[in-house]
Amino acid sequence: MTEDRDRKDLAATPARRSASRAEWESETLGGAPERDREFSTVSSLPIERLYTPDDLGPGWRPEEKLGYPGEYPFTRGIHPTMYRGRPWTMRQFAGFGTARQTNQRFRYLLEHGQNGLSVAFDLPTLMGRDSDDGMARGEVGREGVAVDSLADMEALFDGIPLDTVSTSMTINAPAAVIFCMYLAVAEKQGVPFDALSGTLQNDILKEYIAQKEWIYPPRPSMKIITDLMAFCARNVPRWNTISISGYHIREAGSTAVQELAFTLADGIGYVEAAIQAGLDVDEIAPRLSFFFNSHNDFFEEIAKMRAARRMWARVLRERFGAKNPRSWMLRFHTQTAGCSLTAQQPYNNVVRVTIQGLAGVLGGTQSLHTNSLDETLALPSEEAVTIALRTQQIIAEESGVTNTVDPLAGSYFVEALTDRMEREAQEYVDRIDRMGGIIAAVERGFPQKEIADASYHYQRQLDSGTKTVVGVNKYTMQESTRPELLRIGSEVEAEQLRNLSRVRERRDEQRLRNDLERLRAGAERGDNLIPLLLQCVRDYGTVQEISGALVPVFGTYREVSVL
């Protein structure tokens, strides 16, 4: 084609076969112009023109850096067969309105090929408040499903036997209460606890850092978490007690390196807390899981996930002396980046999500949520979430990437980037260690400030056009049509308030009062709170009544804002 012949960056000496990079640079590359002076990832990590074996460094050995899939340090994946054995779990986050409405969406998704459930709760529930609390006004059922008591949980899983699905629940501040509601539903269905499989997000550390949903201060919150770890180790052995999350840290504006570093630092914090609480690392570590973001920069995300596996394996084996290989394995869920999606030209989001979903798969994720195209406009419509689910199914069935394990291993670029992500994240982890650990770092606002600075820096790049978002600061257009959106009507709040009244009318008030008093007393004594929470839940205590009973003992958290 004429255009190719006319390119100014045509090789100066294409017949040459350079014997070294230096030769290539001086003879063939010459002064060929490039589009920009510098190239970097979406996180501003600089990227070189070309990667060669030299970029791996003299000490790079595949036996040490990679290993085989299913073997330490698990860089290539935690299972020997990965997706040849079984594809990742397709697990779409869902929840809106009342439990009855969300139950319908769950059944729809299961019918359409989703393999696992993922529950989104509304903001009052996430904050440990009831639907009739003053601050719940206007918020009920809008960001997720409203759950006030066991009655809502029963409606949520109506017709869904809990031994036939694995369920992930995105809940943090009142996670233990909601978990007990799930257990109580299992009891009512006649399903034994050891048949239950799923994940509780239950990652309070990242709340202080990024998502900002809390009730109590850090230390009592960690106590509840270690109680839950101990309870599950003995009674709910197939349950993932925490989903140690980087997703929200990234959504708050961190770089990929920060996401990796702060997530691992949180993980270290949880393991240390468990050990201090008298638990054995091998008792609890196999049931810790992780949750990463999958953002736009394809290779940065893949490198991040591979580095995460290698780093965690080393932390558990060398730092904590874990003996069980299952303790060394970083298992993770991925969600494509909500913050990368646009309100402008929303159908472009289908393309973004495809790239991001593919990155998660090439990064070796165990489960995946793909965002819907209407992400920035509303909760997903049925049509939008179906496209998101089909995106995963097409990747799994048609793209061929699942035919082999860790296809990108050995790429000079990917391995160099993986090493770099590890190196830079380790610097942060070391720094946090020197501060006295993640709780100390959070108390002095360190991760919060790093994130605020990174997000401000990125916004400046968008405003100046240094970084592009198609349809927003480039290729903009007048739009006439919009997708049909999901609307949550105000009648949802009214219906939920009626549900709540009914629950309060029907229950044995005195019995509950005694349960709550036993809970409070147990908290004073330092008892494992899970059995006490479970009893309050069985007697239809509400999320706020139960969470509130612990406030006199634990106190509440108030953030000192860092701009």
């Binding site: 903001l123 708050a252 600061n473």
Partner: protein, 134 residues
């Protein structure tokens, strides 16, 4: 001599998504405006009390949780009740196009939706929010 513009930036309701609010607060501050950032979990009552106490010229409020149709008009109602409706209110977050007319009719001066640049917000503020002392 014209006074420096004073703005309150806050997160109203239970919504903890503060990435945008913090960026806007910082951008406004960097442009020479005095910014009081209230942080999270403010009730409309708390925002109005702080605004009056701090004698601000305007309130920038953020909500991404879908509760804006209740919270933003409630803010304006309270300002009226306390004879402070000279304080201009504008907002941003995840707010559907369809809701904007209603919010403006309730007295919200402007709504900034996803994709807005910091420069756009700062310019709008300087053009539309005058110090009340002028």
């Amino acid at each position: 001599m014209p006074g420096k513009l004073r703005l309150l930036v806050g997160k109203v309701g239970l919504d903890g998504h503060d990435r945008g609010a913090k960026i806007i607060a910082r951008a406004l501050r960097d442009s020479g405006i005095e910014v009081i950032y209230t942080g999270l979990h403010q009730t409309p009552e708390m925002i109005v009390s702080t605004a009056i106490q701090e004698d601000v010229d305007g309130i920038a409020v953020s909500s991404l949780s879908g509760a804006h149709n209740y919270l933003f008009p409630r803010l304006i109602e309270l300002l009226k009740e306390r004879n402070a409706d000279g304080i201009r209110v504008f907002g941003g977050g995840i707010i559907p196009q369809e809701d904007i007319a209603g919010l403006k009719a309730a007295g919200v001066l402007e709504i900034f939706t996803p994709g807005t640049s910091m420069e756009q917000v700062v310019k709008w503020v300087k053009d539309n929010v005058r110090p009340r002392s002028e």
